[in-house]
């Protein structure tokens, strides 16, 4: 039963037929790239891994949607895709800035950028709940916080499913930001590598001249792919989720398969449109 009175739709299991179809589509996209532009094969695999990490990470982010805005349900009072995109794109900003230090530093900077946004946002959410609204944090899905051992039923106000951000949700938000920032930056770095290698031939320009175009294109396609994966995951979550302790968290394999398939197809177009 959700805070809005409806049952939570969508099961937890994986549909085998749909999963096989998704994997076939993924393999076809990878095959097309291999045939048409073999140099982009490994970058495309990186894009797929990045998309899957984003989908996995979004499941950690505690999102309460509209019920959280009235203190009727725990989590952050905004949409799943919205918040995940905010964190992941802040990570992408940091990752792109550190790109000249190499792949691993950029990925680390991206992950920490996303986690930092979530750490500050989650803290301010609790500050508003506690100091401006006088409401303590309480989960509606578990009796006890798995990290701190705090009990929740007695701190849940009457007629609600809980409110605020318990510590497990806070940690979930930070982990979600880490995965989102890492995945988004990985996608950006892979696109950037492909464009920097391929654009000089396409545009008949020097490698230095194509850098601004490559950075802009890689950035906009990374943002686009981030939104695709965040929205697919939001559909998998169906509404709200409290974090890693929420029963809905178990649905992540389904979203990872869907996101990997979508990332493969979108990545294929993003690569072939520019360099072929």
């Amino acid at each position: 039963m959700s805070a809005l009175g409806g049952g939570s739709s969508g099961g937890d299991g994986i549909n085998p037929t749909a999963s096989v179809i998704a994997i076939v589509i993924l393999l076809v996209a990878v095959g097309i790239v291999y045939v048409m532009y073999p140099a982009a094969l490994f970058p495309l695999i990186g894009v797929i891994i990045g998309g899957a990490l984003i989908a996995f990470g979004v499941h950690f982010v505690p999102v309460g949607g509209a019920p959280a805005a009235m203190g009727q349900a725990p989590g952050i009072a905004t949409g799943v895709a919205m918040l995940a995109a905010g964190a992941g794109l802040a990570g992408l900003f940091g990752g792109a800035w550190a790109a000249h230090y190499g792949l691993w530093v950029a990925l680390g900077a991206g992950a920490i950028g996303g986690a930092l946004l979530m750490a500050i946002t989650c803290l301010m959410v609790n500050v508003v709940y506690v100091y401006a609204m006088g409401i303590p944090a309480a989960s509606g899905k578990v009796e006890k916080d798995p990290i701190t051992g705090d009990t929740f039923p007695e701190y849940k106000s009457s007629g609600t499913e809980g409110h605020g951000l318990p510590f497990i949700s806070y940690v979930g938000g930070v982990i979600g930001g880490l995965f989102g920032g890492f995945g988004g930056t990985l996608i950006y770095m892979e696109f950037l590598a492909v464009y920097e290698a391929g654009l000089p031939t396409v545009l008949m320009a020097t490698p230095e001249e194509v850098v601004p175009i490559a950075v802009g294109l890689a950035g906009i396609f990374a943002v686009g792919l981030f939104l695709v994966n965040a929205v697919i995951t939001a559909y998998n979550i169906t509404g709200t989720i409290e974090g890693p302790h929420d029963p809905k968290f178990k649905r992540w394999p389904r979203a990872v398969i869907g996101a990997a398939c979508a990332s493969a197809v979108c990545g294929m177009f993003a690569i072939l449109l520019v360099v072929v």
Partner: protein
């Protein structure tokens, strides 16, 4: 050394701009009921509570601000490309984006409110005239400060992204921070002010929003006045801290250990915020105590 001090100064300036942007963004969205509490504004007439609250929610705050800031940044970028003065270009870009915001606000209010006609909810033309311009004014502040901050990140700090892409990214982050922090204060604390302080809203009370003010009916301007004292500044602090710490740790620590210094500094900052959060959570449990059970209160 000079370069480092310049970078820290720009980080502080960008953080200050972000703080103003966050506060203006949340107040703008509360006046227009753009965040999640719009569900209650839309629900109220269906439960028999006709009201004079503005409702311009056509999308979530993050994509809306992503669009507006990217639009302002794109226009400013194009104007600068034809040798316009940067300040003038940023102002003109923000002004055009605000007109788009105004069109969205008007069409969203008319569309959403007229869809409630069968519940006898009127469309108030005077409301449209008085509130739209106020949301536009707040939106201008939010968009201009955010796009100026993006401009500083590129021109002064050397970020490689083009201005429109930077506007899209930070516009989405601005909306995410503002809606996450400010929505509960507007949704629970203002819309349901008549319910007990210190408790969440019972689900059965949904739709029963406060519709009357000290004199006459409550308007969305009253809501902006209220949230500008709580949710707005909190959203501003949230977005300001995000921008400041993101820039500060990079400027100061990136040269350390070939880029890893900024990452380690980020981890330490996150741990500090985590400890602060745990303190806030424990303080609330200890200070407020558990809710009385029904037997205890009767």
């Amino acid at each position: 050394m000079e370069e480092l001090l310049f970078g820290i100064g720009i980080s502080a300036l960008a953080g200050a701009l972000a703080t103003i942007a966050g506060a203006a963004e949340d107040t703008e969205s509360d006046i227009g009921s753009q965040g999640d509490p719009n569900s209650q504004v839309q629900l109220a007439p269906q439960m028999g509570y006709v009201h004079r609250i503005y409702n311009k929610a056509i999308s979530g705050e993050p994509p809306a601000y992503g669009l507006w800031v990217a639009l302002a940044a794109g226009i400013a970028w194009a104007l600068m490309a034809i040798q316009f003065n940067a300040v003038l270009a940023l102002v003109l870009g923000s002004a055009v984006a605000v007109f788009v915001q105004g069109v969205y606000a008007v069409t969203a209010y008319l569309g959403r409110t007229s869809s409630l006609a069968k519940f006898e909810q009127p469309v108030y033309i005077d409301l449209l005239k008085s509130v739209t311009s106020v949301t536009m004014a707040h939106a201008f502040i939010a968009i201009f400060t955010c796009v100026t901050m993006c401009f500083l990140m590129i021109e002064a700090l050397g970020h490689p992204f083009p201005l429109p892409l930077m506007g899209l990214i930070w516009g989405i982050a601005l909306g995410a921070a503002g809606s996450a922090t400010g929505n509960p204060f507007y949704g629970k604390e203002r819309q349901y002010q008549k319910y007990k302080f210190g408790a969440g809203l019972p689900i059965s009370a949904s739709g029963d929003i406060v519709r009357y003010a000290e004199a006459g009916q409550r308007s969305s301007l009253d809501n902006g006045w209220f949230t500008s004292k709580g949710g707005g500044p909190a959203s501003g602090i949230c977005f300001g801290l995000i921008v400041f710490f993101e820039l500060w740790r990079t400027i100061l620590f990136e040269p350390v250990a070939n880029g890893w210094g900024a990452i380690i500094a980020g981890v330490i900052i996150i741990l500090v915020f985590m400890i602060l959060d745990r303190y806030v959570e424990s303080w609330a449990r200890k200070t407020y105590g558990p809710y009385p059970t029904e037997e205890a209160s009767s």
